[in-house]
């Protein structure tokens, strides 16, 4: 598989605090990569570097390089707005807008200047189908998104992200706020989506990482300790720390 995104010697600082140091990691196209590691090790920080959401936090600094399709994401001519359209993101807590279900999905199109009503309607339907939510909501597209259950809300957020046709999808613990059944739906969805997207997912749940990902990267206190095929990492990790973490000895 070709490499879709990659980080080269990436370091990240909150003020003086080095939250990530010297991370080098590739993400293959149409693959699911799981980022695991104990709380505070920098998984979220790393994920947010990929679509430059960290830019919003004042006093932060990036060293090293991230590329998307070989082009530097932190290049001076890069427009973050464009970048974020290409690198979508789903958050830990479902965060639908306080709008209708339809408008939640249509939002991304509207901000892209799409005005054609039928085009929008088609795309909304397509995205909801992709997110396996269409059947559940097709009769109440004009109801408030806030009335959906947690799991539905999260799938709505995924549909919303898909509607702008990103190429990479970042997910930061997308199922941690959900019950087991909703979690399972999301995991199934990730399986379906990887045919069309490159997916990078942060998770605290080892089983989930093992179930959904092709590649796993283990972070520890801001460092990338080990990365490789998920099977290998979970059965024959090279590093002691990885093994300790996976077997639940800490974290």
């Amino acid at each position: 598989m070709p490499i879709k995104m990659s980080a080269n010697h990436l370091s990240f600082f909150y003020g003086d605090f080095e939250a990530l140091s010297d991370i080098t990691l590739d993400f293959e196209q149409n693959q699911v990569t799981a980022l695991i590691g104990p709380s505070g090790c920098g998984k979220s920080t790393f994920l947010r570097c990929l679509n430059r959401m960290n830019d919003l936090i004042p006093g932060t600094r990036v060293e090293g390089e991230i590329t998307l399709d070989g082009q530097p994401v932190y290049g001076s001519r890069v427009d973050v707005v464009n970048l974020r359209r290409m690198v979508g993101m789903v958050f830990q807590k479902p965060n639908p807008f306080p709008k209708t279900i339809f408008e939640n999905i249509a939002y991304g199109l509207r901000i892209n200047g799409v005005k054609d009503k039928s085009l929008i309607a088609n795309k909304v339907e397509e995205s909801l189908k992709q997110a396996a939510l269409w059947e559940e909501v097709k009769d109440r597209l004009s109801a408030s998104a806030l009335g959906l259950s947690g799991g539905q809300q999260q799938r709505l957020c995924i549909a919303r992200a898909l509607a702008v046709e990103p190429e990479v999808l970042l997910m930061d613990e997308p199922a941690s706020a959900l019950d087991p059944i909703a979690t399972q739906k999301i995991e199934e969805l990730i399986h379906l989506l990887k045919a069309s997207y490159t997916i990078i997912i942060v998770t605290h749940n080892m089983q989930q990482a093992a179930r959904v990902s092709d590649t796993t990267a283990f972070f520890y206190i801001g460092k990338l300790i080990e990365t490789g095929e998920t099977d290998v990492i979970f059965t024959r990790p090279e590093k002691k720390q990885t093994e300790d973490y996976i077997t639940g000895r800490f974290g």
């Binding site: 427009d79 290409m86 702008v164």
Partner: protein
């Protein structure tokens, strides 16, 4: 399906125009925000611009310490000490009513009342705050003044006491609602700790909650007094209007805002009287500024304490 509408600009760069537009929007907003604080600057500038010329007629010392306010005599006498003292007196005296009342009401709402009762008392206090001052003035003039005359056997009912009483009630809502916030922001864990030690609710309130919310409550008191010192209609209508240093509770007085309001309409434009009234405005502004600065300082300290505590 593909959507040429946005598939075509599939690269991370470009979009110079959009970011230009964003920049323009942001600077417009900055401009407006600056404009709205510029008004504060303008207020200061104009008070001084129109107030300072009074120094052609009196020295600063005479202005501030002079006890005779005869602005229309020939030559005029511009001593505003009686006005300053009057403002100080009504403010302090009103605080004697409003501070205990405001804080006790806040305690009632935040600590004692059930949620239902609180939901009635709070709007009551807020509505009290919204009563137009001219109506309170009317009330003081028509109802309270004759009442005071009869009750205390005093010659006139419009006086320092009446004005303070009315101002006190006007300051209560300010003091109450800010104190209530301060009391509510005291962490519940402190309350529980105290109660679990066998303290009564009252002991918990007085020894734990109030000290922990002290700077917030102090802010409330100061803002309440700031409201009282700047209030115009009440002192215009029920303070009596005598420009003298009061010797008793029932002496008529003429606080600064009353003087400005009563005289400005007929002060010849840019004459000495006009400038003198602006100078009073500047003094009044200075007082409220000091109050507000103190409140600002206290509340920022209180926020910091909460963040660290």
């Amino acid at each position: 399906m593909t959507y040429p509408a946005f598939r075509k600009e599939r690269n991370m760069t470009s979009a110079g125009r959009r970011s230009l537009k964003e920049k323009i929007i942001k600077s417009i907003f900055l401009g407006i925000a600056l404009a709205s604080i510029t008004t504060l600057g303008l207020i200061t500038v104009f008070l001084f611009l129109e107030g300072l010329p009074v120094l052609q007629y009196v020295s600063v010392k005479e202005l501030i310490t002079g006890t005779l306010w005869y602005p229309t005599r020939e030559p005029p006498l511009f001593g505003i000490l009686p006005l300053i003292v009057a403002s100080g007196c009504v403010t302090l005296l009103s605080a004697i009513f409003s501070v205990p009342l405001g804080i006790m009401t806040a305690i009632y709402i935040a600590e004692i009342a059930g949620p239902r009762t609180a939901e009635i008392v709070k709007p009551t206090v807020e509505i009290l705050a919204s009563l137009p001052s001219v109506v309170i003035g009317l009330f003081g003039l028509v109802v309270v003044a004759p009442l005071l005359q009869r009750m205390f056997g005093i010659p006139v009912g419009v006086n320092l006491f009446n004005a303070s009483l009315m101002l006190g009630f006007m300051a209560v809502p300010t003091i109450c609602s800010i104190s209530e916030d301060a009391i509510r922001s005291v962490p519940g864990s402190l309350r529980e700790a105290s109660l679990a030690l066998g303290a009564t609710h009252l002991e918990t309130i007085i020894k734990i909650v109030l000290p922990a919310g002290a700077s917030g409550i102090a802010t409330a008191v100061i803002l309440g007094m700031s409201r009282a010192i700047g209030e115009t209609m009440v002192v215009l209508m029920v303070a009596g209007g005598a420009a003298m240093i009061p010797e008793s509770l029932f002496d008529p007085v003429r606080p600064m805002p009353a003087s400005i309001a009563a005289e400005m309409a007929e002060a010849p434009f840019r004459g000495s009287h006009y400038h003198a009234l602006f100078a009073i405005g500047a003094v009044l502004f200075f007082f409220t500024l000091v109050f507000n600065l103190t409140a600002d300082y206290l509340s920022s300290r209180y926020k910091r304490k909460q963040l660290s505590g």
